[in-house]
Every structure is written in C-alpha cells, then in structure tokens.
C-alpha cells in the first residue's frame, strides 16, 4: 500500500465535502473533492486515485451513472453514500460494483473504517484481475446474494443474518476450503464490525452454524480447525 492513499470525494454539499476532506486528511490521506460528476470527471485524469467516496444523490448526472463511467475507467474501489434506507439505489450500486456503501447520515469513523478496509482489500488483490461482482454465490445448497446482502436456504426462503454473521459468511465464502485463523478473520473483518472481536467471531460462527442448520457439535459446513481457526468446507459456485 502506498503510504498516502489518494481519495476522491464526490458530494454536492459543500460543508460535507470540506469537512470530510479535512477529516480524511487528518487520518493521513490525500483528498480531492468534487461537487458533481462533471467536476469529478475533470479531476479524474489529474491524479491517481486509490478510492472514490461517491454520493449517489448528485445534481446533474446521477451518482449511479458516474459509478458506471468510473467502472469503465478501471477498477478503482468505490464507497457509496446512499439516501437512508433506499434499498433499490443500494442494490443497483452494489450490483454495479461499488465495494461498500454507507447510508446518510453516516458516522465518519465508520466511513473511515470502511475506506481503510476497502483499501486494504484492494491492495491485497492488486495485480489480480478484479472479478466482476457475483450476483449469487452458491455453496452446499445455500445461496448468498451479495448485492442484496441476503442468504437463501435450499428451498429459496430468505434466512435473515445479523451484520456480523453476514460479514463473516462473506469472508468465508470468498475463501472456501481455506483455513482462516481467528487472527486472519479479525483482520478481514476489522472495520466492518464493532465490539470485542475475539469472542464475537466464535459467537458469530455458532450463530451462523445454527442458521445454516449446521450441527454445532459435528459441523459439516463451517468446520473448526484445531489450533483456533475455521474453514468453509464446501464447493462455491459464482454466477
């Protein structure tokens, strides 16, 4: 990772733009800010950005259209800011390939954590061609739909998950048949989850097993590895 990540903030509210820039700069990032898609396009060739924080509600060209344009320009990670509880925008945004989203009014620290997590993931996968976002991920009869953040059981019924359970399942599903130690899981999940992680991971795993109808004493899907780790024992199919 470069020592100073370069972030492009696109938001139509001047105050938020300025405050957010200042806030991110104080966290050791370089920030450029644009008030709409037009200005952002003008700024785009002027710097090499590591991440774009994009408000979906923009005057003129919509944030979604700009996100599409960004996707055509390369694989820069996008963190979207959406109107509160605007499901459709969020789903469309995530299906377009936004890496994460936050709904307004967001918590700045939460945004910082998400930005860092996305940057970490992006740098980890640097060089590797970015996979197009999967619409559905199937494993052991279950289906995970990342854009809708939901899990469907083998009969197609939605099985609700807590935020922590979902994040954990996503991390496991992205790395099937690979042993993930608690430390690795904590690292992968950091910034996505609040609270004491060590116990939280064990709790989340046991809750997840219960929801996946995985017998806790003799699990077949999420197996416990001696020495403190977990592995998703399943073939994962993306579509």
């Amino acid at each position: 990772m470069e020592p100073q990540p370069h972030i492009l903030v696109v938001d139509d509210d001047r105050e938020i733009r300025d405050l957010l820039s200042k806030f991110l700069e104080r966290q050791g990032m370089r920030v450029a800010a644009a008030r709409d898609a037009k200005e952002a396009r003008r700024l785009w060739p002027l710097g090499r950005y590591h991440l774009v924080v994009l408000d979906l509600m923009l005057p003129g060209e919509s944030g979604l259209d700009f996100a599409k344009w960004l996707r055509s320009q390369g694989d820069v990670p996008i963190v979207m800011l959406t109107a509160m509880a605007d499901e459709t925008d969020r789903i469309v945004g995530l299906e377009l390939g936004a890496d994460d989203y936050l709904s307004k009014p967001f918590n700045p620290r939460e945004l910082l954590a998400r930005v860092r997590a996305v940057l970490r993931r992006a740098s980890g996968e640097a060089g590797a061609p970015k996979e197009p976002p999967a619409k559905a991920v199937r494993f052991g009869g279950w289906t995970l739909e990342p854009a809708r953040r939901r899990l469907l059981n083998p009969d197609g019924a939605e099985v609700p998950l807590t935020g922590g359970e979902y994040e954990l399942l996503q991390v496991l599903v992205e790395r099937p048949n690979r042993v993930l130690t608690r430390d690795m899981l904590m690292d992968l999940l950091r910034g996505r989850q609040a609270g004491p992680f060590d116990r939280a991971i064990d709790v989340a795993v046991s809750r997840l097993r219960r929801k996946l109808e995985d017998d806790g004493r003799n699990p077949s899907l999420i197996k416990t590895v001696r020495g403190g780790g977990y592995v998703l024992a399943a073939t994962v199919e993306r579509s």
Binding site: D13, I16, P105, N107, E158, V159, G195, E213
Partner: protein
C-alpha cells in the same frame, strides 16, 4: 350457547324475511279466496245434484203404487249426502229451526211445491239436524206416510285440498328463491361499500369503487370515492411533509457528525455524537413511518425463526448487559411469506421497547398446528412495570408516549409501536399489548400462517 335468531342481522336477510312473510300472507289469503270459490261452486253443483235426486225420489215415491214404494225407493241410486227413507213419522223436528232460506234456495226446495197439485207434497217440514251441516226434509205423501230426506252438505275445507297445499308451497318456494336472489342483488352495493370502507381503513391507496349500477348506488360510490380521494390527498400531504423534513435533516446531521470529530473535548464530543445518534434514530423512524417503506418491498419466503433470532442477537450485541434477559423460544425454522426489511424493523421495535421499558425481551414464536387458517403467533415479553390498561391501545398512536417515559433517559420517538403495527397490519396480521399476569408487558403479534 348459540341461540337461533329469528330477526336476521343483515339488511338482505331482514328485507328478504319481511318480503317473504308478506308474500306468504298474501299467498295464503289469495289461495284461500280461490279455494273457497271453488268449494262454493262444488257445493252448488252438489246441492243441485242432491235437489234433483231428491225431487226425483219424491216423484218416484209419489207415483209408485203404495205397496211398491219402499222397494222402488230402495232401488233408487242416491248421491252421496242424500238419504231417503219412507217412515210413518217425519224426522224434521219442529223444535229445531227450519233450513235457512239461502240453503233452501240452493237446494231448490221450492220446486217441490211448484209442480201440478197432485204431485205436490201434502206438507213440507224442514229442520237442522243435530249437527249443523245435516238437514232434514220431511215430505208428507197423500197416503200419510212421510218421505224423510237426510241431506248432509260437507263443510268447505279449502286447507285440506291437496292442490291448494302443493300450489301454496310451490309458489312460496319459487317466490322465496326469487326474493332471495333479488334482495342479495339489490343489497350487494351496500356490502361492496362496506368492504371498500374496510379496505380504505387498512390501505389509503386501495383502488376506487366502480361507480356503476342504479343511480343511488352510483352516487354513493362516487361520494365514497371522493371522500377516499380527499383522505388520500390529506395523508399524502402530511407524509410528504414528514418525509421532506426527515430527508432535509440528514445533511445537517451528517455535517454535525463530521464537525464533532474536530472537537477537542472528548467528553463533549461523545455526548454530541450520542445526541446525533438519537436525532438520527428519530429521523429514521419518522421517515419509516411517513413513507411506509413496507409498501414498496416485495413479499418473499422468509425464515421467521431466523429473523427473530437475528433481531434478538443484534439487540443482545447492542446491550451486552441485558444479554441474559434476552431469549428465544420457538421452532428452529418457520417459513412465512413476508417483507423481510419491514418485518425486521417491526420486530426490532417490539424487542427494543421491551428492553428499554421492561429490561428484558423474551420472544415466543408459535407456529400454527396445521398450515393455513391459524395465524403465526409471536409474543415479546418483558419484565417491566407494564402500562395502565386504558393506555394499552393509546400507545399505538403516533408520537404518543406515556408521561412516565417522557424523559431523555428512556426517550424514544413515539413511533416504534405505530410503525410496528402498520407493518404487521400490512402483512395481514396485527399487534396488541397486554399486561402479563406474572407482571410485565407482552406484545402479541400475529401473521397469516
């Protein structure tokens, strides 16, 4: 115990009953008149027959030689209702009233005395018999013997006529069916109006009523649609206003959150962020209430048991101190048709309230024993003080909070319960509050199974 009601509850039933009773009365009267008429005619014919035979009997007896009279009389064929005997004494008794003139006329007794003098009876005595429909006529022969006629006219009994009964029942049945059909058809608009009003009560955006049919019905439907439109506009305006306020507040809250990050005083910043969290919760609740998010969300198959555990787990994560007072009892899995995001919000509101005001949240999920029919039952119990009985319904009013909780410690937006109820009702269920006998409050929710 179920008592049978004579007076029906429904307008159609009442109208049909009144019409049917009136029709039955008219039918009975009409058919009686008709039957009486026929009976009259029959009796008239019968009387004619009797009088003709009586006269012929008299003539036979009168003309026959004295020694053959009895034999010839016996050989005569007499109709039913007429008996003739030759006796030494008259059977008509003078102490009884004579045959009344109308019947005498009907029997044409006057004809006996109108023949040539040698055919006329020497004496004619008439009287009622012991029983009224029986009459006696005694005619004295020149020889001094008496021809005794016993005439019995059957009384008119229109009700015993088979044709009368069959006609009566057939006509009543046919008319009854017709009335039933017509009344149902005529009162259908009233039922449709009631159903439309019911739908409007549940969903302001219910489709309008068709303005068809008879003038009065079309007018009523039009008036109803106009009223619904006005209500819709009123609700729409209010909703839009609330949504606009909620929407516009998001930008300043975001700015304040960012500004708070630049504050040096940690204590003040923590408090400010807490205030902002509270504001955001209020805005979110107001928006959810105003926009009725659930309306736009598709209904899908959903594991309700997993949803309950998810809501409880999230509540336990947010309040680790109360984790022991949070529990789930119910099936491991229970698939229902529902809107996941909306239903989760409704459950989270009930669980949140239980924790906030009752210090515990024990959720009991009960699946119906047989699929279909019985609803899924959901109970969220707490261990708080409960609320006064007269407030159990009032707390479902938007922005209504109990005075005791109207402080910043237990605050709340006053929208949690109304939102939850809106969502359950939009699913075809409902939610009510009850004080538990063991103490504490329980929120009882139902969902169609």
């Amino acid at each position: 115990m179920k008592s049978w009601r004579v007076w029906p509850q429904s307008l159609a039933g009442r109208t049909a009953l009144v019409l049917l009773l009136a029709l039955t009365a008219v039918q009975a009267a009409g058919l009686t008149i008709h039957a009486l008429d026929r009976v009259d005619l029959q009796r008239f014919a019968q009387a004619r027959e009797i009088s003709a035979r009586a006269i012929s009997a008299w003539r036979t007896v009168n003309l026959a030689p004295a020694d053959r009279r009895a034999q010839m009389l016996a050989e005569l064929e007499l109709p039913q209702g007429l008996d003739a005997t030759l006796d030494g004494r008259p059977i008509a008794r003078l102490d009884q009233p004579p045959i009344p003139p109308p019947i005498a006329r009907m029997l044409r007794l006057d004809l006996l005395g109108s023949g040539p003098p040698r055919f006329r009876p020497r004496e004619v005595l008439t009287s009622w018999g012991e029983r009224s429909p029986v009459f006696f006529v005694s005619l004295r022969l020149p020889s001094g013997e008496w021809l005794n006629l016993r005439i019995s006219l059957p009384p008119p009994r229109p009700w015993h006529s088979e044709t009368f009964l069959i006609a009566f029942f057939a006509m009543t049945l046919a008319a009854g069916l017709l009335i039933n059909w017509a009344v149902r058809r005529l009162t259908r608009p009233v039922r449709l109006l009631a159903e439309a009003a019911e739908r409007l009560g549940r969903d302001v955006n219910a489709p309008p009523m068709p303005e068809r049919g008879p003038t009065e019905v079309a007018k009523a439907a039009h008036a109803f649609n106009t009223m619904a439109e006005r209500i819709r506009r009123f609700v729409g305006d209010r909703t839009q206003m609330l949504a606009a306020i909620g929407h516009d507040l998001r930008t300043p809250i975001t700015r304040l959150r960012l500004r708070a990050e630049f504050m040096d005083d940690d204590e003040q910043r923590r408090k400010m962020l807490a205030d902002l969290d509270e504001m955001e919760a209020m805005v979110a609740a107001t928006l959810a209430f105003a926009r009725d998010d659930s309306a736009g969300e598709p209904t899908v198959a959903l594991d309700l048991a997993a949803l309950c555990r998810t809501v409880l787990d999230e509540a336990a994560d947010a309040r680790p101190d109360l984790a022991d007072a949070i529990g789930y009892k119910g099936p491991e899995r229970l698939v229902v048709q529902a809107r996941p995001v909306a239903l989760k919000r409704a459950l989270a509101n009930l669980v949140g309230n239980a924790l906030l005001y009752g210090g515990a949240a024990r959720l009991v999920l009960t699946a119906p024993e047989a699929p279909g029919g019985e609803p899924v039952r959901l109970a969220v119990e707490d261990e708080g003080p409960g609320i006064p009985v007269d407030q159990l319904e009032a707390v479902f009013q938007p922005f209504r909070r109990l005075e005791a909780s109207r402080n910043r410690e237990t605050g709340g937006t006053g929208l949690g319960l109304p939102i939850a109820r809106n969502i359950f009702r939009a699913h075809g269920g409902d939610v009510v509050l009850r004080n538990r006998e063991a103490g504490g409050l329980v929120a009882l929710a139902t969902l169609p199974g």
